[in-house]
Every structure is written in C-alpha cells, then in structure tokens.
Amino acid sequence: MDEVIRAIGFGLVTSSVIALGAVGFTLQFSVSRLFNVAYGAAMTVAAYVAYLGINQLGAGIWVSLVVAALAAAAVSVALQRGIYQPFIAKGSNHFALIMVSLAMAVIIQETIQAISGPRYVSLDLPHQTAFHVGSIVLTPRQLVIVAIALVTMILLHWLLRSTRLGKAMRAVADDPDLAQSSGIKSRRVISIVWFTSGALCGLAGATLVLNTVTFNTNVGSLMLLVIVAAAMLGGVGDIYGAVLGSVVVGVVSELTALWAPQLKNFSAFVVLVIILIVLPEGLRPTARLGRRVAA
C-alpha cells in the first residue's frame, strides 16, 4: 500500500509536467486548429536551453527555467509567423500543414543534434534529500515542479476567465472572423496565444528534464506523444479536460511502473485507447468547441 501511495506521489510530479505541456498544446489547437507536431521540438529546445543555462553558463535553476520558457515561446511565435502563416495564406490544406509542422520538427531536432551531438546529457543539479510526507517521498525540486504547475494553471485560469485578453482569446477560438468584425485584433490575439502556449511548452520541457535529469534530443518528441494522449483524453481544445487527462495519464503511468517499469509509457496509450472506444470525444464530451477554452 505504501508503494502505491508513493507511486501516486511520483505520479503527481509527472502529471504536473504533462499538464503544463498538454494545456499549452490544447490552447494552441483551440485557437489555431492546427496540430503542431513541432511542439515537441520546441520542448527539446527548452530542455537544451535549460541545460546550457545550468551546466555551461552557471545560471541558477530559476533563471534557466524562465529563459527556457522564453526560448520555446520565441520558437513557437517564429513558427507561426514565419512558416505556418505563409503556408495558410498560400491555401495549403490541412494535411499539408501537419506535414509542414512535422518537417519543422525534424529540422529543429536534427539541428540541435548536429550542434550538441547524439549523446545523452545530464543536468548538474545539487543532490537533495527527500521529504517524507506519510508514505510520499519527494525531493524539494519535485515539489517546486508541482508548485510551478499549480501556479501556472491558476494564472491561466485567471487570464482566460477574468481578463479582456482572455475573453478575446475565447472569442477567437470560437470564431476568428466574427471576433475580428467585433473589433478584436484576431491576428494579434493568435500570436499572443502562440507565445503563451510556447512558454507553457518550454516550461514543460524544462521541468521534464529537471525531473529526469538525463536526456537526449528525442526528449521532446517522446514527451509529445504522452502530451497528445493526455490532451486527447481531455478532448482536444478543452484546457480543463487537458489537466484532468494529464492527472490520469501521469498517475496511471507511475502506478504501471510499480509492477512493469518497462510499460510505463505504454499505459498512457492503453488509457487513451479505452477512452477512444468508450468516449471517442474525450473525458468531457459536453465541453463544445467554442466553450472549450472557457468552460
């Protein structure tokens, strides 16, 4: 029983990382309706920026986290403005855009690998003694990751529900043309969404490697699949669903790791399949498209 509770503790840390990524992914999708496969590559960029900051430049963990988030946000906005938007303006179809994002994912990942080399890297992090809360055993760093995720979720909730910008984002997600004709600068709002979701993606990438310490250039594309599973579980476009999906995926994968460590990542997929068969629209099928960001 103690083991199960301990696994749930680890599961909450994993869930926090997944939630940061899944919320960003789903926010981006709800406003742009584009499945951006390069999201995983932006996560890898953030992981390597954090590595550069902590190991090479000796910057603190907090500074490195912020810079990593900003780097992924910059990549995200550059992709939207420099690549996707021109392809959309040219009239590329939906499949072509997914292929474009896949191509960008490959280009970014291969570029990082050409610079850093194919080997695994490890963050130089000080050793920490773990806290014991009942049967749950967590390091201070893991608690910080959970805290970052919680604070980010609360801020995002406040942004979307209580600010004019959040209202504009919801309006654009609902109908960009209608939003435009109601005086909302849709283009600007969409760019802000790409920046915000890119920053969330960067936080996910950086907290992921803070937790796992050792990684290589596949880190983002592997994590992307878990994030997609969590986002689809919540119903893509539904940010509250994405949080719920992340908790399910994170806890289930850590519980699976108790009896079959090698199937840890496979369990997320099994959950997804079961949900697809039982509830093809995700955990919260009633959260309709326009209300997804809102409700």
């Binding site: 309706r33 938007q85 009239g91 179809n93 292929m99 283009r187 969409i190």
Partner: protein
C-alpha cells in the same frame, strides 16, 4: 561488375522494390482514401517480424539465443501470406479505435501515438519478438536448395522481389481503377457529401486501412528475408515520415508518381550521401540528411504540392467523352470536413 558493385546494385534494387510496395500501400490509404496513417511503419514492422518468425523455425535451431512467437519453417511465399494476414488483422484491430474520432487530424495523432506505443510494447515484451535486440539469422528463401554464390543468389532474390512488386502492382492498379477507389476518393474530398449519397464512410476507410496494412506487411516480409535481421531501430516513426515524403514528392494518388518519389527520396537522396566528399563526421552527415528531407517537404508543399506527377482525374468532356486531366493541387482537401479549417493567421 565486381562482386561488391553487383551486390550494391542488388541491394539497391531489392530495397527499391520493398519501398515501392510500401509506398503504394501508403498511397492507397493516404493519397486515394485520405486516411492519414501516421502509424504506417508499424504495419511494415509486423510483416517483417511475422515473416522472420515463420521462417526461422524453432528458436533452438540457432542455439536458442532469441525468443519469438509463431515459430514455423514455411517455404516462400507462405511466410509473406502470413505477414499479409497479420498486417490485415493488426490494421483491423487498430483501425477499430484509431479511425473512430471525428476529424482526420485526430486520427493521424492517434496513429502517431500507436506507432510510438507499439515500439515501447515490442521492446518491453522480449518473448514476443526478442525485444530491443530484434530477430536475426532469418534464412533466405531457397538458399540451401539452390546453393548459389552470393551474387547469383542476390539476382535470384531480385527476381523474387520483382515478382512481388509485379503482383502488388496488379492488385494496386485493379484497386485504384475500381468503383471502390471512386467511392474512396469521393469520401476523401467530401465526406459529408459521400455519406449523403449512401457511402458508408467509416466502413470504407476501415477497409482501405486493412488492405493497406496487409500490403505494407508484405513489404516488410520481403525486406526481412533479404537483410536477414530486423529490430526496433528499423521502425521508428521517422520511417513513416520518409514514406510520406516519397509520396508527396512523387504525387499523391498517382501510382507511377509514387515510384518516382521512392526513387528520388529513398534511392537517390539516401545513397547520394555515400558519394559526397566527407566534409563532416558521419553523425552530422545524418543530421544534415534529416534537415535536407525536411526542407524537401517544405519546398514541395510550397512550390509543387501536387507532386511531380499529379493525380489524374477522370472528367467528362463537352462531348461526354471521358478524359483524364491532371489535377491542380487538390487545394482544400479535407478542410471542408474540419469545419472552420486552420486559422493560425
């Protein structure tokens, strides 16, 4: 030709045949039917594993250093039929849930997750197909009976591959010129319209998924009997990306275009690296190759989205005669289906 050159040419020809069959299969699913199969390589993989297991015989024969299921010792071409069956059954099982979500992009993402998850599963379950080490020592068909030298046998295997390619072509040609292909194209271009005239869209997509899965498995079988070994490194999802590159470069829904695409992407691009002067360490060369493939995709989607040989469509002329016309690029395919389309403006 020296033995080495001959063997190099044999390898190129066999791999070309394997990739053409695979790309035809993906093209049937994606180009003709609009099923965005981002888990494509999984079906090639099951074909390779099943063919290997069906020809290796009991594990003890090679000293029992590897574990696998379905051990048998079947003569060619029975293992390939077994592979096709396995590929079809797997496609049915996966298709039943992966093709369920509304929206092709959702389906594509589920299939991408399927691809990664299958890899994790096969690596973790060693007793299935020997885990991360993969299967090795796969015997070549009729090698003992013929007792030829290496190059002579190589040319014999080229003939076997050619016979599979020819048979696949007959099947693919038959399928893509059938009324069924017209139903598939109808639902590809306008799912709601197709449903309105009585086409069971979900069923047709599942069928093409199964047929494509079976053919992809055959390509894997031909591959593994030539190279003699297969491991999880051979089917990471970047392989699916390469097959998509080939059919986009060649021309979606054009069987001849697919051949051209495979020739350019798989043969010319992959092999040309061998002949370039070594300017960088091999790992960086591999990275540059990956970047080049990404740029080729972007370039084609920007300047020539219809591919080198565009889809040819039957139109009725003013005199009522049927004539084939090259299609302009299929702008908007699938967008109507997705509702508001993409708006990352």
């Amino acid at each position: 030709m020296s033995v080495a050159t001959q063997y190099y040419v044999i390898t190129l020809l066999v791999l070309f045949g394997v990739n053409v069959v695979a790309a035809w299969s993906l093209n049937l699913q994606h180009g003709v039917a609009g099923v965005w199969n981002f888990g494509f390589v999984v079906f090639q993989a099951i074909g390779a594993y099943v063919t290997a297991a069906l020809t290796l015989g009991p594990p003890e024969r090679l000293g029992g250093f590897q574990e696998y299921v379905l051990a048998a010792d079947l003569p060619w071409p029975l293992p390939l039929l077994g592979a096709a069956l396995a590929g079809g059954v797997l496609a049915l099982l996966i298709g039943l849930f992966a093709l369920k979500p509304k929206g092709r992009d959702y389906q594509a993402l589920v299939l991408l997750v399927v691809s990664a998850a299958s890899l994790v599963f096969v690596v973790s379950q060693k007793e299935l197909f020997n885990g991360s080490a993969g299967l090795a020592g796969v015997p070549k068909p009729y090698a003992d009976e013929l007792a030829l030298d290496v190059t002579e046998y190589g040319w014999f295997y080229v003939l076997l591959t050619a016979s599979v390619v020819a048979l696949s072509y007959l099947v693919i040609r038959r399928l893509t010129s059938s009324p069924w292909a017209r139903r598939l194209k109808a639902q590809r271009d306008n799912p709601d319209g197709a449903a309105a005239i009585g086409i069971d869209v979900g069923r047709e997509r599942l069928i093409v998924f199964v047929v494509g899965g079976a053919l992809a498995a055959v390509s894997g079988g031909v591959l593994v009997q030539f190279i003699g070994a297969y491991s999880p490194e051979g089917w990471e999802y970047s392989m699916t990306f390469l097959y998509f590159t080939a059919i986009i470069v060649g021309g979606l829904a054009n069987n001849a275009g697919v051949v051209v695409g495979v020739l350019l992407v798989w043969t010319v691009l992959q092999e040309s690296v061998r002949y370039l002067p070594e300017v960088a360490p091999p790992t960086i060369t591999a990275n540059l190759q990956g970047i080049a493939i990404g740029l080729i995709i972007l370039g084609f989607l920007w300047w020539r989205p219809q591919g080198l040989l565009p889809e040819r469509r039957v139109r009725l002329g003013e005199d009522g005669a049927r004539r084939k016309v090259a299609d302009g690029g299929r702008q908007g395919q699938g967008v109507a289906h997705e509702g508001a389309g993409v708006n990352a403006r």
